[in-house]
Symmetry: D2
Subunit: 366 residues, 4 copies
């Protein structure tokens, strides 16, 4: 188990960091969607290494191929298999670590679980495994936009102590989507982005790494998406988000901030605007009782600092010998800019799955 997401729009990912290839199979994508490789490639390009000066200098083109499920430019309703071949794998970069457990990586736990491990580039624990997620997410985004007008955007809200001001006002979502592609950090405040950029460069020089917060919004989600009780929309988002490597926490709407408020402060009062039921505040983050209420869905994600650092660290081998480790290799000092499309993809996958569930929830919409 474990490599599958979605109950209706079902994605199975596969692939190790340095194996022949990575990708996914998307089951139950409806027939009749216009889809080509470029639709998927453009999202993969946002995720791929080497796209800017602050990401790893590894050059991976990550070209996607559609193996099935699309015929004459349209989806067939059959499984869509997507493949990205691995290139530029430097196996020897990793030979020294074959028996060494890198701190705060998954080397030790994979060995404990499986007894046999692909030590190259972290194998299945590598963030490269999110290629399948981003690829499938591109399809999900397309359905959400074309069928429901739903738009999704994630952005970097904080790197270490550099955070968006509390009173920072997000622009409308189309503008937001453009802005974050204009700076290498994918932070909507350009000035802050520059400070973040310098911090990342300095930290890299220092052989250290950084974490931070990504926020994500989804707009135009109609009321009624989300399946109580265990598949509440917020629960499903949380699960998908925490399946991204390096995440340590997730908040929906007011999140942990809600814990110091009283009910009378926190409750989102309903009112009617242009014939539509709205809430005056949105502490709920667009989800009430696990179901979307039509307001903006708002999610915050904590990323820990990258575990791979260029400093000496003490650790142990699989023979329980204590050793000193210094990792070479080409790594991101801060994964957040490249994690933005991954967060978006996860959110898109959960939303399109919820949309399908909503279709079946009432006899009169069958």
């Amino acid at each position: 188990m474990g490599s599958q997401l979605g109950r209706y729009f079902r994605v199975t990912t596969f692939g190790e960091s340095h194996g022949p290839g990575l990708g996914c199979v998307v089951e139950n994508c409806p027939a009749g969607l216009l889809l080509c490789e470029e639709d998927i490639q453009k999202e993969l390009d946002r995720r791929r290494p080497g796209q800017s000066r602050i990401t790893t200098p590894r050059q991976e083109r990550d070209r996607v191929e559609i193996l099935s499920g699309v015929f004459e430019g349209k989806t067939l309703g059959t499984p869509i298999a997507l493949l990205v071949r691995n290139e530029n794998a430097r196996a020897k970069d990793y030979e020294d670590f074959r028996h060494i457990y890198r701190p705060s990586h998954a080397d030790y736990t994979y060995d404990m679980r499986y007894g046999h491990r692909a030590h190259l580039g972290g194998g299945r624990a590598s963030a490269r495994t999110t290629i399948g997620v981003v690829a499938a997410g591109a399809i999900a985004k397309k359905i959400l936009r074309e069928k429901f007008g739903v738009e999704i955007c994630a952005y970097v809200a904080q790197i270490k102590d550099l955070a968006l001001a509390k009173d920072f006002k997000l622009p409308d979502i189309r503008t937001l989507q453009q802005i974050i592609e204009q700076n290498e950090v994918r932070c909507p405040d350009n000035e802050l982005a520059q400070a973040m950029y310098r911090l990342i460069q300095d930290t890299r020089q220092d052989g250290d790494s950084l974490g931070g917060v990504i926020e994500a919004v989804a707009e135009n989600v109609p009321p009624g998406w989300g399946d109580p009780v265990f598949d509440r929309l917020d629960a499903m988002i949380a699960r998908a988000i925490l399946a991204i490597p390096a995440t340590k926490g997730v908040e929906i709407g007011s999140g942990f901030r809600s814990t110091t408020m009283t009910g009378s402060e926190h409750n989102d009062l309903f009112y009617v605007e242009n014939g539509k039921i709205r809430t005056r505040t949105n502490h709920s983050g667009g989800i009430q009782g696990g179901i979307s209420n039509g307001e903006r869905i708002f999610v915050r994600v904590a990323f820990k600092p990258t575990a791979t650092i260029a400093r000496m660290q003490t650790t142990v081998t699989d023979q329980k010998e204590e050793v000193v480790l210094k990792v070479k290799g080409r790594h991101d000092p801060c994964v957040l800019p490249r994690a933005v499309p991954i967060v978006e993809a996860m959110l898109a996958l959960v939303l399109v799955d919820a949309a399908m569930g909503a279709k079946l929830a009432r006899l009169d919409s069958w």
Copy 2:
């Protein structure tokens, strides 16, 4: 969909707040476990209303009946159906709200989704639906303890601004389990618990409500539990936790605190202690790469303040009329003390499911 948790240890819950009964069916519980109703009842008693002066005065006995799956005191390996009948339902308490959407409740979203809603006591959105969770969790806890020596304990760490001191040291888990049953707030610091208790009482007088933070730990979890990539242990915990009503966020290990640390500060260095591989710090919260590493699993959960308050609020009806609402009824001003066993149950359900997955992960353990 939505009422099912678990891939191997599969729980399906059912029931509305004021329907004939609530409960669950537990599929795939292994044969041969000693089990009686008292094993389950003792956990339900920790959850039930009316157990102390700071919970709702509704008196619900919540007696559980085992309908199937147990024979002569031992599980059969067949589905275990558990039933709790609803009593003391005051339907007329809710008649006034039949057409009114209570702020930050699920009334509006259920109507949007299903078009037909059990308005009594919140129907399926009520926290009473966690009865099935707590009942199933009692079985999960028993397996974890008897088969693996795993112990779970949750506790209240914060109510509004009253929080455990940063340097508060948790006692060993058995002691912790006892301590939190000795005060009505289920906070391990007795002095703090008293302050919390007073705050809750004052807030109730004030017609308002409170949120806070519950923390949960699991000890003796062996390394190797958790199924990358989507069913990572942290992802599955996050999903189960956010399926609890009123939750708004979840953290694993260092959580959002990790975002301001550098990699060299945050990495958990491995060492060997008594022939066992350990980590010197536990920012990972016992989970690395989505798999348990043998250290203490640590989870933090944000609960928003209870949506039901005894104050005037403006809202709308299902006819889009704006109205003023004042809720009567008998509600908890702060759900956290009663939510402690629910958090434990969710954690137990995820862990026992992961244990089963781990059994199958290697050919040599088949």
Copy 3:
């Protein structure tokens, strides 16, 4: 696993023959269906023992209670839990068999699998466990009829060597449904039914038992139901049907008869009738490539003779001692008449599940 059927319309059954109760939870039944206990009871009454002189004389009322999921006479879209309490359980009838493996029963295999077994009345292997199936099937039938005009009918086509004539013409389905309730055997040919009836009575006198064939038809199934490749409609029907105790084979359309035909004889030629695409023959049994084609769905089911007979048989105990067994108790010499509603229920459950899948298969029907 094992007690769940359906991917969309998901039924989980529970209960042992002589435990406190049996039933099911139906997840994902859409909201807005009118539903009351009588809708379900009438199908259970067709299944229950003691309904005629040729079924077991055990008197079980099998009264169903709706525990959840229905409010003010309409489904909520939340799980529907259905409970039937066991009555009239004569535990002592079975005490002699506690350690004896009855031939062609599941006693031995349950012991091998679970190591702990409810020996009373076959426990979970009893045909009483189909109560949950019939109850859930009643809901499925109601949806199929009201939403799609689909009608289902099963009937006894053969008992031992007494079979419907090859040229027997089925009446229209509404008439068929009435006819089979008018004789105790549920065979559409009244004369044949009388011969079957006498054969059953004679066989019972003789302490022996009988098998036979049930056929089932579904009419008005629209083209497009069924999910290739593994969830083909025929595959899903076969699985559901063979989950009925005592079944040994299943045929769709021409079944084994097709194996001696050539392609030019067997192919169902298309033509147009009243603007609709039809086939001139229906060897396909209404299913092509795993998807319904709009023609009558036709299924045949082989039931072996009841394993419980009133004759001396040699067998072994759980201590591997060879013994002679003579079963007392009140059993059906031929299960087919009572199995008719079970076959119908299984077919209905598969069809309603397929209907939901079909809804999602094309983007333009979302």
Copy 4:
């Protein structure tokens, strides 16, 4: 849905007949199994076209590539993705049929379901989609053999009226496996095989096609495999088998033959042999109450005659025009010889899945 088989050993297949490639992802294959491409290729070679004079002359090499899940010759416990590229696709062979519904094919039903269809070679309805099944089945077979000593063998028992004699004695399974690879029909009676061979050649000349029966046996299956009630071993086998294109029926053990027997004739009496509990007859086909009993598992499968024939047939277009069709192309007049490895693969997939379920069924085997 639809392209997934297995609850524990989970296979997702993908691919259309004339798309870029076909294959599967196998999730939850345990770590530590020695596996290389040749292990899989040898089974694919048994299925591929062009392997003998009685199969289609299309030359497809069907070379498999392992894309993930295997590292240094051993499975990792992560998803195993397998890819076979399509070659030798003659699109223009099919251009004439773009708008024509071939009789007893899936053209019409796919159009009804999806509204968009890959008309080349039947698209997803092609038997080429069983490539993923055979590939995954090769892994399942390897686990079954190495871990449990389970051997599987299918063979052709009947083509049209040419059938194995009723008193034909199967040799031991290893011998059987060898024999059936020695004649092109895969029938264990060499003389009969020759007659079948001639019949197939004659029928091809005649522009017609043939059906028949494949039987399959599995030996050394330990008692205890199979999950009542819906996932009974027989039910799961039936579903997997009927997911093979062109199948119309399935029997377990005595099958339809049981319907004319009495209980006293049909019951399999238990006895003890060499300290093991055995049955004197095996009408049960190795499965009782849906669980394996240690005896030989025996399955019979009905294949209809191939729908593609080289004769004139009347049919309709997607515009509802009646037309006369004459199919060109290179087709099998009888699919049974090549279907033998597919039946084996399906049986293997169901058995390995059941083996995993059995591992979890008792607390004392965890």
